[in-house]
Assembly symmetry: C2
Homo-oligomer: 412 residues x 2
Amino acid sequence: MPEQSPLTSALDVAEGDPFGPHNLPYGVFSTADAPERRRVGVRIGNHVLDAGAAALALGSPYAQLLAQPSLNPLLAAGRTAWRDVRRALTAWVTSPAHREDIEPLLHPLGAVTLHLPYEVADYVDFYASEHHATNVGRIFRPDGDALTPNWKHLPIGYHGRSGTVVVSGTDVVRPSGQRKTPADAAPVFGPSVKLDIEAEVGFVVGTPSELGKPVGLAEFRDHVFGLSLLNDWSARDLQAWEYVPLGPFLGKSFATSVSAWVTPLEALEEARVALPARDVPVLPYLDDSDEEEAGGLDLRISFSINGVVVSEPPFSTMYWSAAQMLAHMTVNGASLRTGDLYGSGTVSGAETGQRGSLLELTWNGTEPIELPTGKRTFLEDGDEVTLTAWAPGPDGTKVGLGEVSGRIVGRG
Amino acid sequence: MPEQSPLTSALDVAEGDPFGPHNLPYGVFSTADAPERRRVGVRIGNHVLDAGAAALALGSPYAQLLAQPSLNPLLAAGRTAWRDVRRALTAWVTSPAHREDIEPLLHPLGAVTLHLPYEVADYVDFYASEHHATNVGRIFRPDGDALTPNWKHLPIGYHGRSGTVVVSGTDVVRPSGQRKTPADAAPVFGPSVKLDIEAEVGFVVGTPSELGKPVGLAEFRDHVFGLSLLNDWSARDLQAWEYVPLGPFLGKSFATSVSAWVTPLEALEEARVALPARDVPVLPYLDDSDEEEAGGLDLRISFSINGVVVSEPPFSTMYWSAAQMLAHMTVNGASLRTGDLYGSGTVSGAETGQRGSLLELTWNGTEPIELPTGKRTFLEDGDEVTLTAWAPGPDGTKVGLGEVSGRIVGRG
């Protein structure tokens, strides 16, 4: 090994590091010497700050929110607490006065185990990219309209399985199930032959709401704490056979991967952009034309298989905003709980190289893509899928989103 | 008032009482003097036994499972524990030796508040009645086949919102949302005008399973603890506009009511019956022709509005069994958690008077029913819906299922 230069402080994050002190995403980690002791961690560069230990060491009033095995208490504490804790953390990692206390509480990223950072309450998945929905419509209903009549009137969504939301790095067992193509006389059973990914952004609810009381567009930032990348693994063959009339079930429920890091919305102020132009008027509860809080986010996603980038879906092209999804999800009075997670649906841009699923990239397997590891229509056992993303931050910085990765394994 | 005979022991349950010692369903209650102290209760006649206090008073090893604010620890303890606890409870409420200890721990049913008895993990709803699915198909697709091509090959299901599962007695706020009939040029927004119920049976999972490992038909009773009545409130107008292509969402997610009492499967041994004949062969993982554990349940449901019975759906007519639903739900490797709840879907028999929804009873509002409180197509504000049921028990007894009721209130 080459000789290394002497270590400087772990707090001296390189210029241009997307996990500098302007970012500070939250996660939950443990260390090899105490694998059962899960703790809230904050990422700074290539290190993880034990946030609860820092709060205790500095006599901070936020120890009760941070010295926890899960992000749930912080999520439940509400927007003012989120802001105050972030301010405190920023001071701890940037002020020379705290350096002596903080440095011993940093763990190298490679030396910790990262866990699912919050308990997922309900998981909802939307379908908010016009390019994605149009591609899917063209593939499966070539003779009909690409978009269903409701698509531009409401953000279509459905509930998924919260018990199979797993943290980045968890292997994904190839699901078995029924499939039936028009050529089959009867359904056949076996491992999925069309295993796919969906590159999405997942929004994490902090503040709960009351049953029977809708949450309006303007309340989005009071309820949603942050976001992370999300991979909604999809078995297209299982899904195609099962989904009429009640929607996706086993084609999706075997696993959904999320990043170990939740990026607070406050770190993404510079990433706010206008949504694409809408060509159909919406009902008042979805009308964000006058809303300060609505709008898009400029998140630039990268989807790679076995280390090779296959597409770069731009979140800024989404038709529906995260605030609109939340307003729609609750307009019937459905309540929110701390830990509710909702996905945007596959992020696909207008260009071929911006499609967030293999279904679209290979046009349902008819146009394979070439990788150094071989031709691909859908995923093979052993394939490792990784999503990364960044967003514009303050003063020309980049805000990195934590990656979400997973490897496909055959059923043993 | 007529003079009453002197009270005998609350343990002297009348002959024919469907909540006699052969039943013993579990719930969670609190009393007015300690409203915050939720406790596991067991129903005996018109009383509730404080099960944890009984276990402590009798020095029982099950105190740790029963002296709890939720059924979750008992649910998680597994089948052997379920059997042993039930045996102990049966002895406590029937043996004269325990009478002196037990009697002071009984609370009149009318004097307690009943709570949601377990934390709902994932909620899945199936569609397992052939009569119901056929009726719905005829109503919504009059020119097509009533059943979709997949219907007899797999139990169709989808995920619902676990955060809005509420206990019997909770008022249901009429949901607002989008609807659009063919006559409307654009969707309109407002309170649902087709608010309906679905009479269902809900199965409660106790023992969890491992991600990636299907749970076979024969393992049903190792994982499922018991069942209760369930009302899957449905806004038909919202649902009709939103559900293509990803299934029901806001039309269902505003509320799902469950009984306060969970009846253990062990109390329903005498209710086991053969399923109706199947006319389409199924894949091996659903083939219960040789399975001791599969089969139907003779549960006789009664659906009433404002105290008047409007139908009596027989659960014995369901096409798919609860074991088949579980095997299907996990065949893709999806894991189970303690507290998972899955509904059967609307229970409808072959006869008109056996239909478990107003959609079917009034043929989508075209054939109103007459009640003493007026004509009904769908539910009016103020209507109270109640589901009750019983099953054959040992020695000619009836096993009562706890009722599930809810009243519709307009949005304030």
